[in-house]
Amino acid sequence: MKNQLLHVFRNTPFGRETFLQSLYFCKMTGLHLKVFFPTAPQFLMYFAREVVTVDLDKSFLQSPETAKEHAEELIREAGVDASFFEPTRHTASTLPDIPVNFGFMTCSRNIGDLSSKVGLGHIGPRVRTIIKNATFPIIIPTSVYKEWKGILVLFGGSANALNAFRLGAKLQALSGLPLKLFSYTEKKPKAYYKKILEKSGLLSGINSEGMEWKFIEKGSFSEGLYHVSHDALVVAGAYAHGLIKELLMGNMMEDIQTILPNNLVIVGPHYNEE
C-alpha cells in the first residue's frame, strides 16, 4: 500500500478543499488515492510502539448519505485513480482500525475536535502524534485548494531533514517539478550543511542537477521563511522529537506551518523510505 495516499473524507466545503488537495497530489505523483469515510467518531491507528486514537469532530460525520457521491464527483473531475477504504479490522464494533502502511496520509491541520479551540494556525495534538509515529509522510494541506509548481525542502541538517530531502527528490522524480533546497544557517557555515549531505551521499545529486540551494543567514527563521516561494510544495522534517527537545525547540514545525501558506509534507522521526 506504499503507493497509496490515505484521505479521511470530510463532507464539508473545507473538507472539499482538502480533498481537492489530495487529488492534486495524487495527480502530480501518480499515487492511488484511498478515501476513508468515517462512520464513527473515533478510529485507531496501531503504530509500531503506540496506539493513536483519532477523535474526529462532528463535521467528519456530516451528511454520510451524500459523502460518497461528492467524493466520486470530485475524483471523476480530477481523473485520479482512487478507491474507497472499508476498514476490515475493528478493536470494538464502533472503533475501526486504520492500517498504517500507506505511502502518505493527508491530515487537515486539526483532525480532532479537542484541538479545534486552538485554531487553524496550529497542528492539532493528534496530527502531531501521527507525525511522531508514522512511517509515512503526512501531507498538511492549505485550507483552500492551491496548486504547487515546485518542491522546496527545508533542510536544517537533522536526520529528519535528510529524510525530507530524500522524499523531496522522490517527489521530484514522480512529478517532474523542480526541486529547491532552503536552509536557515543558525550561525553555522554553509560548509556544515554541505558536509552533512556529502556524508549521506546526497551532495553529488545536488551538484549534478544544478539544484538551487538558498541559504538564509540573516534575521530570524520566521523572517527567512518569506523567501519560500508561495507556490511550492514544502517538504520538511518534523523538527525535534523527544520531550526535552520538543520543549526547547519543538515549535520550529509549528512556526513553519503557521507562517507558510503552502502545502506541507512533514516527515516524522520514524519515516521509512522503503
Binding site: L44, F85, T91, L95, D97, I244
Partner: protein, 582 residues
C-alpha cells in the same frame, strides 16, 4: 539560576540513557523478568486502588441503600460511567477483556494508555452504585494497559510485549483475589492462550509481585474462610449433577448477556441513557433481592458459611436474578467484568442444587451448602471462561483449603465440557471469533496475519491487450515463463481480464487461428481478483475454492501484479520459522 534549571533535565536524560544501555545488554529473559516485576507493581496497585475505592464507596453508600431512592443508584452509576468514558476520557468502544485479547491476537499487545485509568474509574462508578459486575475486568484492562505501555518504554518487541500484557492481567487478578496461581492460570489460559516456558516465568513473577503489593497494602486476607467439609462418595457422585446444572446456568448467562448486548442498542440509541435504563432495571431487581447488587462477595461468604436465607425457591430465583441483573448491567453498557458475577451465580447454583438434593433425598447426609457453593463457583467460572484451570486455582486459593480439590476438578472439567457443546467459546472470545479477530498462537491465521499482499506481490508479469492477435500473444508466450497473462485496456490501463495458458493451449497449436483470433476473444473476463487490503487467509481460501494457483491483485481498476499460492506458502513457512525462533 537559569543554568541550574536547564541542567537538571539533561542529567535525568543521560541517567535514563544509562539505565536503558544497561537494560539492553541484559539477556532477553532477564529483561522480561525485570519488566514483569515492574508491571506486577503497576497491576497490583491498580487493583488495590479499585478495591479500596469500592470499600470506601460502599462504606458511604451502603447505609443509604435502605431508602426508596436507592433504586436509582445503579442507573446513576452506570450513566456516569458511560459519560466519563465517552465524553471525558473519550475511551469509546472499550469492550473489556476482549479488547486485551484482541490487542494480543492482532496488534502485538498494543493498548491505549488512557485505558490504564479510565476503566478503573468507570468500573468503580458502575460497581459502587450497585451495578451487578465484577472489578476484575477493569483491573485486568488497567494492568494490561500498564504492561503494554511499560513494554513500549523499554522498546520490547511485539512478542515480548504480548507476554508483558499477560503479566499485567495476571498481576491484576492475583492482587484482587490475593491468589497468585489464579493470576498465572488466568493469564495463560484466558488471555494468552498458550503455556510456554518463556511465558510462564515472567507471568509468575508479575503475579507474585501483584499479590505482594496487595498483601502489603491490604493485608494477607483470604477472601472466604475455609471450612472443613465431610465429603462422602455420594457427594462426589452428586458432583456430576451439579456440573450439569452449572453448565446450564453458564449457557443461560452467556446467551442472555449476548441478547441484551446486541439488542439494547436497537431500542435506546444514546449510550448513557441505555446504561441508565439497564441500571434502573437492576435497581428494581435489587429492591426485591439486594444480594444481586454489586460484585456480590458478601452473599458468597454467606453461602459458604451456610448462612444464606433458607428455601430452595429463593436459591433458584437468586440464580436467575443474578444472571439477569449482570446481563442488564454489562449488556446495557456499564463497566465491569463477569468474573465475580460468575462466582455469585455459581454459589447460588450450588446452593440451589444442594437444597434440591436435600429435598429429594432427605435420608442422605449431604456435605454442607458451602461445599456445593464452592463447587458451583468453580463450575460456572470454568464454563463461562472456558478456563477450568483458572476456576480450580481460584477456588482453592480464595478458600485456602485443599480438601475439596477432587470435587472442584471434577465439577470444573465436567461443567466446562458440557457447556462447550452449547457455547463452544469463552465469553471473552465469542465476539472476537464472530468477527474473525481471534488468532491463537501457532495457528495458520496468526502466521498469515504477519504477512500482507504487497510483500508477496509478483510484478514480473507480461501484460497483454484485448486488441492483440493470437500471433502476437503466441510470441509473448514464447519468451515468458509465466502461465498467467493479465489483460489491460490499452486506452485507460484498466484491468479487463486474464488469460491462463491452460485455457488457450488448444488455440496456440493451431497456426490457422493466429490472425483470426484476438486476445479479447480468448481471455477470461470473470476473473476472481484480490485487493492489496485483503486478508491472506481469505486469499488462501479463494485459491482452494477456485482451484487456482495465481490471482491478480487489483487496486481500483488497475492491475498491480499477481499473487501465487506457491509464494504465499513459501512466505508462510519462513514466517512460521521466524516465529518459532522467537
Amino acid at each position: 539560576m537559569k543554568r541550574e534549571m536547564g541542567s537538571r533535565p539533561l542529567m535525568d536524560f543521560s541517567l535514563s540513557r544509562l539505565v536503558r544501555k544497561i537494560f539492553f545488554r541484559l539477556d532477553e529473559r532477564l529483561q522480561l523478568i525485570i519488566v514483569a516485576a515492574l508491571v506486577g507493581l503497576g497491576g497490583g496497585y491498580a487493583s488495590v486502588v479499585l478495591n479500596s475505592g469500592l470499600e470506601s464507596g460502599g462504606h458511604y453508600l451502603n447505609p443509604l441503600r435502605t431508602h426508596w431512592y436507592a433504586v436509582l443508584f445503579p442507573a446513576i452509576g452506570a450513566a456516569l460511567s458511560v459519560i466519563f468514558l465517552r465524553y471525558l476520557v473519550r475511551d469509546i468502544g472499550v469492550h473489556g477483556v476482549p479488547e486485551v485479547i484482541y490487542s494480543i491476537s492482532r496488534r502485538g499487545g498494543l493498548l491505549r494508555f488512557r485505558s490504564s485509568f479510565s476503566q478503573l474509574v468507570s468500573g468503580f462508578l458502575t460497581i459502587v452504585s450497585g451495578g451487578s459486575a465484577g472489578p476484575e475486568a477493569p483491573v485486568v484492562i488497567s494492568g494490561a494497559s500498564i504492561g503494554s505501555n511499560i513494554a513500549n518504554l523499554f522498546y520490547l518487541k511485539d512478542r515480548q510485549r504480548t507476554v508483558i500484557v499477560g503479566c499485567g492481567a495476571a498481576a491484576a487478578i492475583a492482587a484482587i483475589f490475593n491468589a497468585p496461581a489464579t493470576g498465572i492460570a488466568f493469564a495463560l489460559e484466558a488471555i494468552l492462550g498458550e503455556w510456554t516456558p518463556i511465558n510462564v516465568v515472567p507471568i509468575a513473577i508479575a503475579s507474585v509481585v501483584g499479590t505482594e503489593v496487595s498483601r502489603a497494602l491490604q493485608g494477607n486476607q483470604i477472601p472466604f474462610q475455609h471450612h472443613s467439609f465431610y465429603i462422602t462418595n455420594v457427594d462426589l457422585f452428586a458432583c456430576l449433577g451439579l456440573a450439569l446444572l452449572t453448565a446450564v446456568s453458564s449457557v443461560l448467562f452467556m446467551r442472555l448477556l449476548r441478547i441484551v448486548s446486541s439488542n439494547a442498542n436497537t431500542y435506546i440509541r444514546r449510550a448513557w441513557v441505555r446504561a441508565a435504563a439497564g441500571g434502573i432495571l437492576v435497581g428494581c431487581i435489587g429492591l426485591a433481592l439486594p444480594n444481586v447488587l454489586g460484585e456480590g462477595y458478601e452473599p458468597i461468604r454467606r453461602v459458604i458459611e451456610g448462612e444464606y436465607a433458607s428455601g430452595i425457591l429463593l436459591a433458584g430465583v437468586s440464580v436467575l436474578a443474578k444472571i439477569l441483573s449482570t446481563s442488564l448491567t454489562i449488556g446495557s453498557g456499564g463497566s465491569g467484568g463477569v468474573f465475580a458475577p460468575c462466582l455469585v451465580i455459581g454459589s447460588f447454583t450450588g446452593l440451589f442444587f444442594q437444597r434440591g438434593m436435600h429435598f429429594a433425598f432427605p435420608q442422605v447426609t449431604w456435605a454442607g451448602e458451602g461445599y456445593f457453593g464452592l463447587l458451583g463457583m468453580a463450575g460456572v467460572t470454568s464454563s463461562v471462561l472456558q478456563a477450568p484451570m483458572t476456576g480450580i486455582f481460584l477456588i482453592i486459593e480464595i478458600t485456602g483449603g485443599y480438601d475439596v480439590l477432587v470435587s472442584v476438578v471434577l465439577v470444573s472439567v465436567m461443567s466446562a465440557t458440557l457447556s462447550h457443546f452449547f457455547e463452544p467459546h469463552s465469553i471473552y472470545h465469542v465476539t472476537l471469533i464472530e468477527r474473525g479477530e481471534l488468532l491463537r498462537p501457532r495457528t495458520d491465521a496468526r502466521v498469515l496475519s504477519e504477512l500482507n499482499v504487497m510483500e508477496l506481490l509478483e510484478m514480473d508479469c507480461q501484460v497483454v491487450h484485448p486488441e492483440m492477435t493470437l500471433r502476437d500473444f503466441a510470441r509473448i508466450v514464447e519468451t515468458c515463463h509465466r502461465d498467467y497473462f493479465p489483460v489491460e485496456d490499452s486506452r485507460d490501463g484498466h484491468f479487463v481480464g486474464m488469460i491462463h495458458l491452460d485455457d488457450v493451449r488448444q488455440y496456440l497449436f493451431d497456426p490457422g487461428l493466429y490472425d483470426a483470433v484476438l486476445v479479447d476473444e480468448i481471455m477470461n473476463r470473470n476473473v476472481v481478483a484480490v485487493s492489496p487490503e485483503d486478508d491472506l487467509q481469505d486469499i488462501l481460501r479463494k485459491f482452494d475454492e477456485i482451484r487456482s494457483w495465481s490471482l491478480p491483485v487489483i487496486q481500483g481498476e488497475k492491475f498491480l501484479g499477481l499473487i501465487s499460492k506457491a509464494t504465499l506458502l513459501d512466505h508462510y513457512r519462513k514466517e512460521l520459522k521466524a516465529q518459532e525462533a522467537e
